[in-house]
């Protein structure tokens, strides 16, 4: 590959200045150092999530039972949507590495094509995440608490502007998940529903229908922080894309800027791989 492949370098030249001992430019090394610090932040968040989950003595929600919806479809498709998001991000990572590869061959058109697709992939991912957040926040039928602090899950969602009595097949599930799980229907279910102190649907920062409040908080913080990284990655990609169009890097003689943004973009994909496993799968 390189012409100087077997050339020994005197260590006083190597570490004594004049040449990067790591054989990388200042900018690329600093990008790596930044990524290490950012990786520590994300690891801290995921370990904190694991800490909260391990310490919690009740039932922690399971990913496939919370995330099972697809847009425009009403059935249950556990994990399919998140898998799709993961796939979008992996593919955009691939197009990014192809852009970097084209840059090393000084192939302008290749860089423009692949970087363009990377930006498209980034927007797709952000759109998917917006839909998922919206779904998580609005939720499903939810549950109610009665004055004696009993918890009943609703079997049917009550549409806006209607009351429980109007809903056909309205029912409640008592002691959900336990041995003595029972289903209450008809007039009795409506009576219990009307004594409720609170009807929890979807999620907010203090309470959610899926599990303990920390679950919602970690969902918002971890996926939100990651989504913010994706958003800034898309913005940086667009800036670099415009620079390539203007021929800045052709004049500069190298496309290292594409490589450095590429490092950041792959890192975003890398984080999602871990979020996918530890938040959704396990």
């Amino acid at each position: 590959m390189a012409s100087e492949a077997t050339q020994a370098v005197d260590s006083s030249t190597l570490w004594g200045g004049g040449r990067s001992p790591f054989s990388v430019s200042y900018g690329k090394m600093m990008m790596w150092f930044f990524l290490v610090s950012d990786a520590l932040t994300f690891s801290g968040l995921l370990v904190a999530y694991g800490y909260a989950r391990h310490a919690y003595t009740g039932d922690w929600p399971i990913g496939e039972q919370v995330f099972y919806s697809l847009p425009f479809l009403s059935g249950k498709y556990p994990l399919i949507y998140v898998a799709l998001m993961t796939f979008i991000l992996i593919i955009s990572s691939v197009t990014m590495v192809l852009a970097v590869e084209a840059g090393h061959r000084k192939d302008d058109r290749g860089v423009i094509k692949w970087l363009g697709w990377t930006i498209v992939g980034g927007f797709f991912f952000l759109g998917s995440q917006a839909w998922e957040w919206s779904h998580f926040i609005h939720g499903t039928a939810g549950y109610i608490l009665t004055p004696d602090n009993a918890k009943y899950y609703l079997t049917e969602e009550i549409p806006q502007g209607m009351v429980a009595a109007d809903v056909a097949d309205f029912g409640l599930i008592a002691n959900k998940g336990a041995e003595d799980e029972t289903r209450i229907t008809g007039q009795r279910a409506v009576e219990i529903y009307n004594t409720k102190t609170i009807h929890v649907q979807g999620a907010n920062m203090t309470i959610n229908e899926y599990g303990p409040p920390q679950y919602g908080n970690f969902f918002f913080f971890i996926t939100g922080f990651h989504g913010f990284h994706v958003f800034s990655g898309v913005v940086i990609n667009i800036i670099i894309f415009m620079q390539v169009l203007k021929g800045v890097y052709r004049r500069r003689g190298h496309y290292e800027m594409v490589e450095k943004t590429g490092l950041y973009w792959h890192f975003v994909d890398l984080v999602w791989v871990f979020v996918f496993t530890f938040f959704y799968l396990i």
């Binding site: 994990l79 084209a102 496993t277």
Partner: protein, 125 residues
């Protein structure tokens, strides 16, 4: 031991460009890793749907998820971020401090949370 005073692979240096043949070679590698990452993700999703949490098989599946995630992470870092093509000294400067901190953080997090869980269960009213 690998000698660090040799410039083993400087193909990503600023003053170096790749030839068309090198490009073909690199793209082949990219396609291979893409297929691998997609297949692993598909296996993960399939297992996640089929094996329910709390069954006897679940602990095996859980650990296989973690192993598969680490394999994916390795390929993203080594090939897509081509850290595998960088010099040994840079590889260690990036990986070692991170791995040390996280190993410690994981240890302390798991130990403390298990202890808390224990205490809360014991003193539950």
């Amino acid at each position: 031991m690998e000698r660090d005073d040799l410039i083993v692979n400087d193909s990503y240096a600023l003053n170096n460009t790749h030839s068309e043949e090198q490009g073909v070679e690199i793209r082949k590698k990219i396609v291979k890793v893409t297929v691998l990452l997609s297949v692993i993700t598909a296996i993960e999703v399939g297992l996640g749907i089929m094996i329910k949490q709390g069954t006897t098989l679940w602990p095996v599946v859980k650990w296989s998820f973690i192993v598969m995630t680490l394999i994916k992470a390795f390929y993203i870092v080594a090939v897509f971020m081509h850290l595998g093509d960088e010099r040994k000294s840079l590889r260690y400067v990036i990986i070692l401090p991170y791995a040390l901190f996280i190993a410690y953080l994981l240890f302390i997090g798991i130990t403390e949370s298990n202890y808390l869980n224990d205490i809360w269960l014991r003193f539950k009213p």
